[in-house]
Symmetry: C2
Subunit: 239 residues, 2 copies
Amino acid sequence: MRPVLYDMSMNAGRTARERARSELTNEIKQVAAAQLASAGADGLSLRAVARELGMASSAVYRYFPSRDDLLTALIIDAYDSLGDAVEAAAAGHREPFDRWRGIWTAARRWAIDHRQEYALIYGSPIPGYRAPQDTVGPGIRVPLTLLDVLHDGWQSQAITVDRPEKLPPDLARQAAEIARATAVDIPQTLVARGVIAWSQLFGMLSFELFGQFVGSFDPTDLFFEYAVTTMARFVGFTP
Amino acid sequence: MRPVLYDMSMNAGRTARERARSELTNEIKQVAAAQLASAGADGLSLRAVARELGMASSAVYRYFPSRDDLLTALIIDAYDSLGDAVEAAAAGHREPFDRWRGIWTAARRWAIDHRQEYALIYGSPIPGYRAPQDTVGPGIRVPLTLLDVLHDGWQSQAITVDRPEKLPPDLARQAAEIARATAVDIPQTLVARGVIAWSQLFGMLSFELFGQFVGSFDPTDLFFEYAVTTMARFVGFTP
DNA sequence: TGTACATCAGTGAACGCGCGTTCACTGATGTAC
DNA sequence: TGTACATCAGTGAACGCGCGTTCACTGATGTAC
């Protein structure tokens, strides 16, 4: 089951060795990701991965210097996979509200289709593992996309904020810093509300995937739809 | 470090054996909970627990027939500990909004003080472990308390719903069933909004504890305060 | 194009470790008379 | 209150397992001339 897809354009000037290396690197990540499903992040085992690939466990060390490095690679891939899905969904629409809904729906779709990868990045921290700096960039793609839509909506007046709360100074400062760092030009209240919505989205996804909705809003489809529009109104989208 | 606190009132008519048994049962759970901190749910080991208690690993089997049973006990204890904290906070106030804020603050306090137990019940599901039915009751104490406050607020008109959305029939049915099962007399919209708030609360807590707020609303105290009141307004509390 | 050497992927054995669970046992505690 | 038997907590050895990582090695691929 090794997919041997040569992408010639990317392989120009690469030796067979280099091609083989990047292919096997991908296969290892793929098999490892599949194994997350049965064992969870904590049970991810280099030996099991090697076994499935029919190679000696020691060989994996030519590709990832340790188990934690493999984990890091999986985490980054998961964030990027989610980021791709969400950004593509946002790019697929012009109206800010449609983009908003696109993001929410794509995030849920991805989460349901990638349960274990979702748990890997939004579930419990893995004991003894410290995420290196490289995971930060991929990790903030979703909130960036959300803030970007808020920016759009604000500029085009699809979003208005009536009764803006006065934030306490320190909170206002944090919000201003977030707006600055993300190059987004929206009121501080909107930043804060956006982050509330962002946390609501993933809280809701975690609840759905981790079983907290069993016995209440289960199936969760309609409730999710309701949350999409209700939270859109919450951040200031005018109906 | 064995706390030997004899609660005479509870020990009336119990043999020394029975007392010793329930004490050791508690000690095992205590040590196990402490070990969650270093190893996580997946790394919880009967042998390690036995070692710390200075007993043979096989002896633990007199108290918990398997590792999963110990896990279940820890999960139930965690839910109950959180439930106690939240219910006590709710009971400590009369005004619905004060009770609301009490619940939110107590939940956060508990989560921060019991990181690993929080991860155990709101983090990634443990691979290979299926929560038995006994965890359901303790598991819904927080949402029940929230719904109860919404009920109070609604009855006393501290909460009003302007512009109530029309829910699609199937969603309305789910909401009505939740209201019925929890013996709470509030509009269906309010049920749905309450569940959104509930998921926002725990999404926010997970984000804070699992590191998603690093670099944005970090420290999270002020943002949390903001969310408490903003989400209160969201469910219909009138300022 | 051919050869000599350097690089690197992959092997297989080994180290040392911890795990959950079972089992036959010893000895202390509880109970019925 | 004393004795005989039943119950049960705790022991220690054992089974069979999988893990991450290291290391000296073989043999294939790449490179410089």
